[in-house]
C-alpha cells in the first residue's frame, strides 16, 4: 500500500471562462500536481486577512491528459466560496488547494464499460472528466450520459458534448429539463424517472458501470431506481453534492 500524504498546494489561476451566467470554469497551473483520475476532486481553501478560512470541495472537470486542472464552479446563492471563485477571483491569483482526492468515484478506460452516467446539474463536472478522458484516449467504450437541468440556460458543456456525441464513437448524450423548456426543445422535460433510465441507459444485462452525481435527493432516487431496474448495486457509484448540488 503506497503512502500518499497530501499537502496544501498553491495553484495559479490561468484563465476563467463563463459556461453560463452562474457557472465558470477556472483553469489552474498546480506545481507539484500528482496526475489525477477522472472523477476525483480537490479541496479549495480560502483564507481572509483576518484569518477566517472557508473550505469546499470541487470536482476536477479536466482529464488527466491535459496539463494543469480545470474546475467548473456554480455560483450558489449565499455561497461564500462559490461567490468568490466565480466573482472576485482573476487570472494571476493564487489559491490553495489539495488533491487529487477520492479514489472511489473514478473511472478510466482500463475499467471498461459500458458506462451509464447520470448527472444532476453541476454533478456533470466529474462525469465530464470521464467523458473527456475517454475522448482523449480515442476509446469506443459505449457511454451514455444523461443530464438533468432546471432550464436550458443551465446546461453546461452543451456544445462540447454535442460535438463529441456527433463523432459516433459510442458516446450518447441526453438532456432533460425539469422546469420548463424553450420553444423547439425536443429533449425530455421532466425529472429523471424509471422510464427515462430504461430508455436511455444500457440495460442491466450488459452489466454497465453506473456513475451518479448531483444533489443528494437526485443521487439517492436515481440509485434506487437503477437497482429497481436490475442493476447490480456494486456497479453503481455515487457522489452526493448536498442539498443545492455544489460547494457553496
Amino acid at each position: 500500500m503506497r503512502a500518499s500524504p497530501i499537502r496544501w498546494l498553491s495553484a495559479e489561476v490561468l484563465q476563467i471562462a463563463a459556461e453560463t451566467p452562474r457557472v465558470k470554469t477556472i483553469r489552474l497551473a498546480v506545481p507539484g500536481w500528482r496526475k489525477h483520475l477522472p472523477g476525483q476532486h480537490v479541496d479549495v481553501r480560502l483564507t481572509a486577512e483576518d484569518g477566517y478560512q472557508a473550505q469546499r470541495s470541487y470536482s476536477i472537470a479536466s482529464p488527466p491528459e491535459e496539463d494543469g486542472i480545470a474546475l467548473t464552479v456554480e455560483r450558489l446563492e449565499d455561497g461564500e466560496v462559490s461567490t468568490f471563485l466565480t466573482g472576485e477571483l482573476r487570472a494571476g491569483d493564487q489559491i490553495e488547494l489539495r488533491g487529487p482526492l477520492g479514489g472511489y468515484f473514478t473511472w478510466t478506460v482500463e475499467r471498461g464499460g459500458p458506462l451509464a452516467l447520470v448527472a444532476g446539474g453541476s454533478g456533470v463536472v466529474p462525469l465530464m472528466a470521464m467523458v473527456r478522458h475517454r475522448a482523449a484516449q480515442a476509446s469506443r467504450i459505449p457511454m451514455h450520459l444523461l443530464c438533468s437541468w432546471r432550464s436550458a440556460d443551465d446546461v453546461i458543456y452543451r456544445d462540447e458534448l454535442a460535438l463529441l456525441a456527433a463523432r459516433g464513437d459510442g458516446l450518447d448524450v441526453t438532456h432533460t429539463l425539469t422546469r420548463g423548456a424553450p420553444a423547439g426543445w425536443r429533449g425530455y422535460t421532466r425529472r429523471i424517472d424509471r422510464e427515462m433510465l430504461l430508455e436511455i441507459l444500457t440495460g442491466p444485462d450488459a452489466r454497465p458501470i453506473a456513475y451518479v452525481c448531483g444533489p443528494t435527493p437526485m443521487v439517492e432516487s436515481t440509485a434506487t431506481l437503477l437497482v429497481s431496474l436490475g442493476h447490480a448495486p456494486e456497479r453503481i457509484w455515487t457522489e452526493r453534492f448536498g442539498p443545492t448540488g455544489g460547494g457553496s
Partner: protein, 85 residues
C-alpha cells in the same frame, strides 16, 4: 430509510481529511458495519457533521462506522467495525 436527508453527503466528502490523517487514499477502503454486517466502501458511507466533523454511517442501518473531528490539539478518530485498507 429514515426519510429524505437532503443535507447528507457521502464518504467522497471526507476524502480530504481521511487522506490527511491516514496518508493513503481511503474512499475505496472497505468497512464492515458493526450493526448490520453490510460491507461498504468508505465512499458509499453516509456522511454527516458538516463543519463540526466527519460522521460516517452505514448506508443500510445508519450505525456509526467512523467519526473524525479536527481541532487545535489534533484529530479525534473513532472507528467501529472492521475496515480493510
Amino acid at each position: 430509510m429514515m426519510g429524505e436527508d437532503v443535507f447528507r453527503l457521502d464518504g467522497n466528502g471526507a476524502a480530504g481529511v481521511l487522506q490527511e490523517i491516514f496518508a493513503v487514499e481511503m474512499t475505496t477502503a472497505s468497512c464492515t458495519c458493526e450493526g448490520c454486517g453490510r460491507v461498504s466502501p468508505v465512499g458509499a458511507l453516509h456522511l454527516y457533521g458538516g463543519a463540526m466533523g466527519s460522521v460516517l454511517r452505514c448506508p443500510s442501518c445508519e450505525a456509526l462506522v467512523l467519526c473524525i473531528t479536527s481541532g487545535p490539539r489534533g484529530h479525534f478518530i473513532e472507528l467501529r467495525g472492521i475496515m480493510r485498507v
